[in-house]
């Protein structure tokens, strides 16, 4: 794994505009950065990222199967009791999932360490699947990148295939907070994939979702949704006025409610308890568990529910050395062994390994200048060096 200076494509911004990539720059700050890229060997991708991702996802499914039969687990994840039946029912119905993203600390040496599983509402999808792919193809065509370079990125094809496989007959809706360009982009891109999968679709804001008298969710014209992709976390959806209507609705949700048990930092403590010493897991415990003492003074304190690194704190030798503000933490915390992000030229990459259905499908990298990857992190493309 190397960080290489490949230089920007001349005119990449107009390429981005033509491709529809509207949020390469956010609030005047760069988000997409192709001045550099990360280069991997094929063995690093296959043995250290792809293989472990598939294995960890399978462990997560095993855990979900147990969680729905054990109220103590659901309670430990701070999932509200009125929601338990909905979570269990969606698992027992085998409601299909579409996608998720496992985030790793990995620098080319030693096993990748799982930091969290964004199993419910991951973003950075379009820029991974489409714009990163275009960057590689154009770099190969221009000779800017070494001939024979590849990329771990079958995301686009896998998403279309998965949507074709799981879409029920009828209208497929894609909803997000459309005031946020990244959220709108992710939902809009998935709508695009669904159209290519042969679905009839509608894209709408969360506030446009309706609830019919017959219990089905619908759009402004009251036509019922057969399926509803919501880029909106379940823990918030269940607090909303429509949350109590999810259980009885004929509408199928993506991600399904059972993904709540994975999109929770408490998962990390449960995985460690089930697979202590797993090379891709870090020791992790719920705060208050006496076993936290085994972490010594170097650990990361994470809220059960948080995003963009918010409310994450890093401790070293017992002292808080880094922390990010945010609104989360009311539901409890875990402590996880510290696996500091690797440092390349003073930059710290975080690897996001995509899962589509139940299979690894691609990779994205977010790069920050500090130890916590927040919402200001840059998206940096990657390639696989020719063998």
């Amino acid at each position: 794994m190397r960080r290489i200076a490949c230089g920007e494509r001349p005119g990449w911004r107009s390429i981005a505009r033509d491709a529809g990539f509207a949020f390469h720059t956010i609030d005047g700050e760069p988000y997409w950065d192709e001045s550099h890229a990360y280069a991997f060997t094929l063995a690093e991708i296959e043995d250290d990222i792809e293989g472990p991702s598939g294995e960890l996802h399978a462990l997560c499914l095993d855990f979900a199967a147990q969680a729905v039969t054990d109220e103590r687990i659901l309670a430990s994840l701070a999932i509200p009791e009125p929601v338990w039946d909905t979570v269990r029912a969606s698992w027992r119905r085998r409601d299909p999932s579409l996608y998720g993203r496992l985030d790793f600390s990995y620098g080319g040496t030693g096993p990748a360490k799982l930091l969290e599983y964004n199993a419910d509402t991951p973003t950075a999808l379009y820029e991974t699947a489409v714009f990163q792919w275009l960057w590689l193809e154009q770099g190969l065509k221009d000779g800017r990148l070494p001939a024979g370079s590849d990329q771990f990125n079958a995301l686009h094809e896998r998403l279309i295939a998965r949507l074709a496989e799981i879409a029920p007959p009828g209208l497929f809706a894609f909803a997000a907070d459309t005031s946020g360009p990244e959220d709108l982009g992710t939902a809009g891109y998935l709508q695009d994939c669904a159209v290519q999968a042969g679905c009839e679709t509608i894209l709408l804001d969360l506030a446009q979702i309706g609830l019919r008298a017959d219990g089905a969710f619908c759009g402004p014209d009251e036509r019922p949704f057969a399926a509803l992709f919501k880029l909106y976390p379940w823990e918030w959806a269940f607090q909303d006025a429509f949350g109590s209507a999810v259980a009885a609705a004929p509408t199928r949700f993506l991600e399904p409610p059972w993904k709540m048990v994975l999109s929770n930092k408490g998962l990390l403590a449960h995985l460690w308890a089930r697979e202590p010493g797993h090379p891709n897991l870090l020791p992790a415990f719920f705060e208050g568990d006496p076993a936290c003492a085994s972490l010594g003074g170097a650990y990361v304190r994470k809220p059960l529910l948080s995003r963009e690194g918010a409310n994450v704190e890093i401790f070293s030798e017992g002292a808080r050395i880094a922390g990010a503000d945010g609104p989360y933490g009311a539901d409890g915390f875990i402590r996880q062994g510290l696996a500091a992000l690797p440092c390349f030229d003073g930059r710290r990459p975080l690897l996001g390994a995509w899962i589509v259905g139940d299979a690894p499908a691609g990779l994205c990298i977010r790069e920050s200048d500090g130890p916590i990857t927040g919402d200001g992190a840059l998206f940096v493309p990657h390639l696989i060096e020719p063998g």
Binding site: S105, E116, A154, E157, L184, E200, L203, Y232, A241, A310
Partner: protein, 214 residues
Amino acid sequence: MADERETARGFGHRPTGRSKPAVTPPDRAATKRSQTVSTVLVAGAGLAALSLGSLDRTVPGRDVLVYPDVTACAADAIRTADDCLSAYNVARAAYPSSAPHYESLPRCEQHHGSNHCETDGTVDLPDPMRFVPRMAGYLLGRTAADGVTPEPVYDHSSGENGHHGAYCTGSGGRITTGSGAHASSGTLKSGSAQATKFGGFGNSGRGFSSFGGS
């Protein structure tokens, strides 16, 4: 919110269809990346300008089909004879429980027109709510995908006599057809009892993106 983007755009429905790949690299046998990547919506409009569903919250009328009986439905050939029959059976089964009940024959006829009401034999005395409109026909969707639950419809009195193509549903929905009692096309305006609610999602948190870790 996306209201500014809504002007002059219709609902965000997208037809099904497949696009031609934008780029098809040659000789791609054993790579770890997609063979082709193309977008059909994103590239045209841009991710920030995708067409969203209309924000108009007024309940639009739904186009439905209304027939007096299965024969008329099948003869119209918009839905298959099988669909016509199964929809009728659904509506007929719903009739006893969903028909509006009135405490007197005059009250019933005031709403539904003279000679359009009868006594519900399943209601025991002394319950006064024994008078119901006869089932004048039934409504169903133009296609199965419309998701319309078949319902019985009743003549709806307007003024003197006759309904001038007006029917109603058990929950107070109004149906107007263009050309009289046997027209197949109608527009259903939901009654208040069937109101769809909006705005029940999105209030617990807005504007996040899920990429983080340490």
